[in-house]
Amino acid sequence: MHPLAVLALLAPLQERAAFILEPDAVVLEDGKAQPGLLVLVKRDRILAVGPSVPQPAGAERWRLEGVLAPGFVDAFSSLGVAGRAEENTRTLTPQLRAAETLDLADPRWRRWLAAGVTAVHVVPEPVNSGGLWSVNVVAGWAALVEPAGSGAFAGPGAPLAQVADPLTRQAFSLLEAAFGGRNTRAGPTSLPGALELLDGALLAGVPELAQRGALVFVDSAAAVRAARSAAQKHRFAPAWIARGDVGSYGAELSGELVGLPVLDEASYEPRALETWRRLRAAGVRIAFGSHREEGPPPPQALRTTAMAFARATGDARAALEAVTANAAAIAGQGRDRGRIAAGARADLVLWSAHPLDASARVKSVMIGGRTVFRAAPREDP
């Protein structure tokens, strides 16, 4: 990084002047790396992007070797949660906040930052772990968390993450596979029962539902139809999180914004890839999230899944959107994050090559216009 950048980074955020980034290329919303573009940043926002940008007085220009891309966003995750984000004695917990279950000193935050992730949407658990209540029909509030810098990029004892938004969306769960579990002694044992509970909760009023919409966990066509009906009745916009065999009901989600889990090593099977292709062909806007029963996957999982998606579908743009703009939209932050455009947050990652190039590595990470991570220097091959 340019030596002047180091001085600028040390300045408090509010006092920092604007600066202009001049990388080798910039990854825009079409997913392609465009050379010859400049990015004007002031405070935590991108002010302009283009072959030429306004030059505010005092703005420094930093030449960067590499490709500048929007930071990755994890659409739905359990990263950093101490224990589980759930209240397992009730099936309706609208007051629960995932933000209050976080361990902001979890060292994984730094590893995810180093993997190019600039925002993580932490969600409450959709399924009850204790078995008393089979699903958390109304699970509570999801939260958006930003990994923070450490070492030279943060004060001593500073947390490794910070909550950017503690109340992004409410999470509802209609996972049919979880109804009537073996150990269930209470809670809904069928979809109609869960819908009855959901309807009651919505009639009683879920705060800010209309403004913020809701995440809806589904795993069947019936669940999708039922949730859509509830959304129309109670006037909220659902952001879908699809679980189970998505290929069996994906047609119901045609044209929708849908979160899909990242694949682990053993899951890259032909059926999974074919499901991606068909969802894409059905106009589904896909976002990838790392939430899974056994805990967060390795930090590279988001990017690996995106690359595999690009290879399987031939659509690099959709692959990049799945871990940037679409994922941010799942978290209700579609305008602010996941893209390099005027008005968006300056959550930027400098890569040695296109972020979907498997041989590329993270060189530095900027969140809100502030560099929070820089990889150890190495001679590029």
Partner: protein
């Protein structure tokens, strides 16, 4: 238009219009690949085809730009950077052409082979492959097509896992029908206990493999001994025949002698007690007027023995008895045919390994097992390939000294401690000079992840040429198919990986398997 050199870091999308401006009118764009694999006839190379690509990765160290590759009858005729002369259908290929990947550990075998948890040691994967005919195995063809689209042009096919000896695996090319066709060198496959197996097979260890070799050696020794015994038997048989002939001759002589003596004695016998003269008198006649049959030499000998009676035979040493028996006028004893060692086809395979007709491909992960394999190899001198190798990097120097290559799977659930990443294993092995092939590890998931994981090795600091070699030329050598695969050179198979990004690892741009 200046073609960007392959060393640039930018991923620059190709400007098709520029090519159109450059290209002569005779250049034809290839059709977009159809969703379903086309009929073999449509894809089979017929006549001469001249491919023109922006660049070609000829081998891990050599790049040319632009690239003209002449293909005839499914094989590369020439690779050059200037337009060739001569007839041929001209086809423009967007992007870069590289040799197709050789997957040194693939699961592209018929489903029933995968399900077979107990193949016999004699199981030949090559025999279990379907006939290369469209529709012979649609499910396998679909998987092969998917692998080909991922850039894989050939693979090592393993038998099912589950026992110590898994039979003979084989390298295979992919036909126009998207079916594997066995080619190259078979190898005897073994799985040691540390490999990713469950159940009783997981308890097997290198000691049992060593016992197998010792048993094979013992079988060989037994066969050598049998040969010698057989040879001796033949000689003994000849000798026996001679003795038998001699015995028969002597017996004949004795009989004739006996008859003569009979004749001499007969007249005296007749004078004494029988009718005189006339010859009609009765001699020592049996009652009833029958003449006792003349005594032959054998009978005479017995009579004399009875009259004189040799003293009772005392227990004598075998040799003395033998000599005595030889003196007696008895038939010689026929020599006994030596017993042939039992046939053991499984051990025969091991013997072929010891004779270096077959290599051994060992699925082994722990350093202890690998060490024992190296010791076994040193003792018996066979060709060895290590597959899996979670802890192979701990023995990198020894593997390099022994020139034993290692096949590292990029996707292997449960393989070793998570902190020992693929990058660390790969780099340590390569630093020591071990030949390393990167492979899918026998799963469809691995095939999807192969290029991605290889790219991550480059991101982690590995030399990109090295990594590319580990996907192409090195596995081709290990599988014995280097003449036709792994490099773009005259005589090689015309099966390519075509990519539009800055490298095959770049998923931001299209890439696919390509066969003109």
């Amino acid at each position: 238009m200046v073609w960007p050199t392959p060393s640039r870091h930018l991923s620059v999308s190709l400007r098709a219009g520029a090519f159109a401006a450059l290209a002569a009118a005779s250049w034809q764009r290839p059709q977009e690949p159809p969703a379903a694999p086309p009929a073999p006839a449509a894809r089979a190379a017929s006549g001469r085809v001249i491919l023109r690509a922006d660049a070609a990765w000829v081998d891990p160290q050599t790049r040319i730009s632009p690239a003209y590759i002449v293909v005839a009858d499914g094989r590369i005729e020439s690779v050059q950077s200037t337009e060739p002369r001569g007839p041929g259908k001209r086809v423009e290929v967007r992007g870069t052409l590289a040799p197709a990947i050789v997957d040194a550990w693939s699961g592209l075998v018929p489903e029933d082979l995968l399900q077979d948890g107990h193949p016999t040691a004699l199981h030949r994967v090559g025999d279990a492959l379907p006939v290369d005919s469209p529709g012979a195995d649609p499910e396998l063809a679909a998987r092969v097509a998917a692998a080909f689209q991922a850039g894989i042009g050939a693979a090592w096919l393993s038998g099912g896992a589950g026992i110590l000896q898994r039979g003979l695996g084989t390298p295979a090319r992919f036909s126009g029908s998207d079916l594997p066709v066995a080619t190259g060198f078979e190898a005897l496959e073994v799985s040691l206990g540390s490999a990713r197996l469950s159940g009783p097979a997981a308890l097997l260890d290198a000691e049992k493999l060593a016992e197998l070799f010792e048993s094979a050696e013992a079988l060989r020794d037994a066969r050598e001994e049998y040969k010698e015994k057989l040879e001796q038997y033949r000689k003994d048989l000849e000798e026996y025949q001679k003795k038998l002939d001699e015995y028969a001759r002597k017996k004949q002589e004795q009989e004739e002698k006996g008859k003569e003596e009979e004749k001499k004695e007969k007249p005296a016998g007749e004078k004494q007690g029988g009718p005189q003269g006339g010859g009609g008198g009765r001699s020592a006649m049996e009652p009833g007027g029958q003449t006792a049959p003349p005594e032959d030499g054998w009978q005479r000998g017995q009579r004399r023995a009875q009259e004189g009676g040799p003293p009772p035979q005392e227990a004598k040493p075998d040799e003395a008895r033998k000599k005595e028996e030889e003196k007696k006028e008895g038939p010689p004893k026929r020599p006994a045919r030596p017993k042939e060692p039992d046939r053991n086809p499984a051990l025969d395979l091991v013997l072929r390994v010891m004779d270096r007709e077959l290599a051994v491909r060992a699925d082994a992960n722990s350093a202890a097992d690998i060490e024992k394999l190296l010791a076994l190899r040193e003792r018996y001198g066979f060709d060895l390939v290590i597959a899996g190798g979670d802890e192979a990097h701990l023995l990198a120097e020894r593997l390099a000294d022994a020139e034993v290559p290692v096949v590292l799977p990029v996707s292997a659930p449960g393989s070793g401690p998570p902190e020992v990443r693929l990058a660390q294993r790969y780099q340590e092995l390569r630093r020591a000079g071990v030949r390393v092939a990167l492979a899918s590890g026998g799963s469809d998931a691995g095939a999807v992840l192969l290029l991605l994981r290889a790219g991550e090795l480059v991101a982690a600091g590995s030399d990109p040429e090295d990594v590319w070699a580990s996907l192409t030329s090195v596995p081709a050598e290990i599988l014995g198919v280097e003449a036709g695969l792994g490099r773009l050179r005259p005589g090689a198979d015309a099966v390519f990986l075509s990519f539009e990004g800055r490298s095959p690892f770049d998923a931001s741009a299209p890439s696919r398997g390509f066969r003109p």
